[in-house]
């Protein structure tokens, strides 16, 4: 009975490649809804930058080539859709990815979850500051209110969605 009770869920049995693909699909779907349905209403300033979920979630799970490549690709798509210079969103996502990954080792041994939380927050905050700097440098000036809505909503929605962007079955990551 105990063996049955400990049987992992369907999500628990899902491998890292499938999780990577599912995460990317979620990001693309949220982006699609934002561009097609939300943008015409003018509420897109509050629509989350969904690739940040993937960047922070995948960074906190495992530092490897595949998620980094996937993030570069998602960033390229964002650049093309938002008319940003190619490489802009890729670098922002990779900064979030790298920042979140720095805290991973310490988070594995921390039972309180504070380090993990701090790592996630740092991922969002540093990527926002980097985005602000990069866009401001490129355009000459940029108003914070133009991008802060997307970053804030992405950060707030990340917590309920966090398990979907975990690439490992290691429970300690949560």
């Amino acid at each position: 009975m105990s063996g049955f009770a400990n049987k992992p869920s369907a999500w628990g049995r899902t491998g890292s490649t499938a999780r990577l693909i599912i995460g990317a699909i979620i990001v693309l779907f949220v982006g699609y809804i934002g561009v097609v349905f939300i943008a015409p209403t003018g509420l897109d300033v509050f629509w989350p930058y969904a690739p940040l979920w993937a960047a922070v979630g995948w960074g906190a799970s495992r530092l490897s080539f595949r998620p980094a490549g996937a993030l570069a690709l998602l960033g390229l798509i964002m650049d093309l859709v938002t008319d940003a210079p190619v490489g802009c969103w890729s670098s922002i996502l990779l900064v979030a990815f790298l920042t979140a990954s720095i805290f991973r080792q310490q988070a594995l041994t921390d039972k309180t979850g504070i380090i993990r939380f701090f790592g996630d927050v740092s991922g969002f905050v540093l990527s926002f500051m980097f985005a602000r700097w990069l866009m401001g440098s490129y355009l000459g000036s940029v108003e914070t209110r133009e991008i802060i809505g997307g970053f804030l909503s992405a950060a707030l929605l990340y917590y309920p969605l966090r398990p979907l962007f975990r690439l490992t079955t290691d429970e300690r990551v949560d």
Binding site: Y32, V35, A39, A72, D83, L139
Partner: protein
């Protein structure tokens, strides 16, 4: 175990270095794109992406999940449109009559008339407002005859111009965009200026005014046609005094942008660009000689 741990650490180090190098490479790529010629290299890719977004937006709208209209609402809408149609028919007759009268006056005055621009109607399917560009995507492209530089107007007036054309889509740079510059003039005062975007969605700055004369409060601001980028006389907003500065209250902000007409920019060639044939040029000289005799 120790070897395995070291291997993992070494692998993490390699990946971390790779990510840092990728960030630096992406930054270098962004830096290179400050040169317009390099940024232009990605235009076909962007036009292709615009096509994909427009196609998916158009197909999604047809069976939209967010369309809650019921039969009653549709019936009310049809009745409203029928009433509007009857009113418009009266205006159409008046316009036809006035056009005929205007043509007669122009013939009497021997006035060189301006050809009516032939445009393409399109629907704005989505928008991408952000720090980089305030643009709209319209569902007509090169296959429909849209070309780079076409002017986008709606019922309120000029909203922008086409900066990128895909096969089935075109991207319109709004007059509110930071990079937008439109030569304009006051319809009554005739004062000329450049309408610059980047001051929000409601107002545009009126800069580079060669004349010192003020605008007339509330007069229409229309395109002046200078630079041949926009045809002359298209309404773009109203002159409003804000503190001590004249600004244009944009017609773009008066109503949501839905259907637009994409008009070709009317280029009037200079005499040097479009000289007369030699035989015709000789005629005035001959008549001048005859006058001397």
């Amino acid at each position: 175990m120790a070897t395995l741990g070291r291997d993992r650490k070494a692998k993490r180090q390699v990946v971390r270095t790779f990510v840092v190098v990728a960030i630096v490479a992406a930054l270098a790529l962004v830096l290179f794109q400050t040169a317009p010629s390099i940024r232009g290299a990605s235009q076909p890719l962007r036009a292709g992406m615009d096509d994909i977004v427009v196609q998916s937006a158009s197909s999604s709208r047809q069976g939209s999940l967010f369309d809650f209209n019921n039969d009653e609402e549709l019936q009310a809408e049809i009745e409203r449109l029928q009433v509007e149609n009857r009113q418009l028919a009266i205006w159409r007759d008046a316009a036809t009559s006035m056009t005929e009268r205007l043509q007669r006056y122009e013939e009497l005055l021997n006035l060189a008339s301006e050809p009516l621009p032939q445009g393409i109607s399109a629907r704005v399917v989505t928008e991408t407002d952000g720090p980089f560009a305030e643009t709209r995507l319209a569902n007509a492209g090169a296959l429909h005859g849209v070309r780079l530089g076409h002017v986008a107007v709606n019922t309120q007036g000029v909203i922008g111009r086409v900066i990128r054309v895909g096969n089935r889509s075109s991207r319109i740079l709004l007059v509110t965009d930071f990079n937008s510059r439109v030569p304009v003039m006051g319809e009554i005062s005739g004062v000329r200026a450049i309408l610059a975007g980047g001051s929000g969605s409601e107002f545009g700055q009126l800069i580079d005014r060669p004349e010192q004369a003020p605008f007339v409060q509330g007069e229409s601001i229309v395109t002046s046609g200078e630079g041949n980028a926009f045809p002359r006389g298209l309404r773009i907003g109203r002159a409003v005094l804000s503190g001590e500065e004249w600004v244009a209250q944009l017609s773009l902000s008066e109503a949501p942008v839905d259907f637009v007409r994409l008009l070709p920019a009317q280029t009037i060639p200079t005499p040097e660009e479009d000289p007369l044939p030699e035989a015709v040029e000789a005629e005035p000289e001959t008549s001048a000689e005859m006058g001397q005799r």
